[in-house]
Symmetry: C2
Subunit: 106 residues, 2 copies
């Protein structure tokens, strides 16, 4: 689903990743983290797709919300599991959305 975000400015966390061959527990943890993120203060939406690489973009009200989410205890545990088991590489980019526009077919 395309996230229904408010008027800019707001923030995007662009998380691009490649997985290892150790997939045990990955999907469950990924779903759990999306559900947990949705409960955080300042969370605005998320878009996620995976094929060879995965791109997850989460949207946040401000940098403080992103920092709080990064330091959430359950999320810290998931990040550690991710580095140890599931991810062969990833890149996280923190970006300020300055402008957006959309199209919906009539």
């Amino acid at each position: 689903m395309i996230a229904n975000t408010p008027q800019p400015p707001y923030y995007a966390v662009i998380f691009t990743s490649s997985l290892t061959h150790t997939e045990i527990g990955y999907s469950e943890m990924a779903n759990k983290m999306v559900n947990l993120a949705k409960k955080q203060s300042g969370f605005l939406g998320v878009e996620s797709v995976r094929e060879e690489i995965g791109i997850t973009v989460s949207y946040w009200k401000d940098l403080e919300s992103i920092r709080n989410w990064k330091e959430n205890l359950e999320h810290l545990f998931a990040q550690k599991m991710g580095k140890n088991l599931w991810y062969s590489s990833y890149k996280t980019r923190i970006a300020k959305v300055e402008r957006d526009y959309d199209f919906f077919k009539k």
Copy 2:
């Protein structure tokens, strides 16, 4: 592939889309546009994944490079085809990448 972008700041164009059932010509045009984007001044990289929705994030040196790409004649034609045929909806977000960090498994 995870795009090998330079040190921030730089810009990201986050393009999230859903397709119609008219897929004729879509993949060819999408590939053509990626190859054309790569030749543009200020282009830094691209990441793209599609399942139910598609997320394509392209990275650019500055807003002027993004504006030039948006107004590229072949790209304008592709955008028009996209609205008429391929996309049921999309959202484009222009964002300034302020910070990034990555992980590569040893």
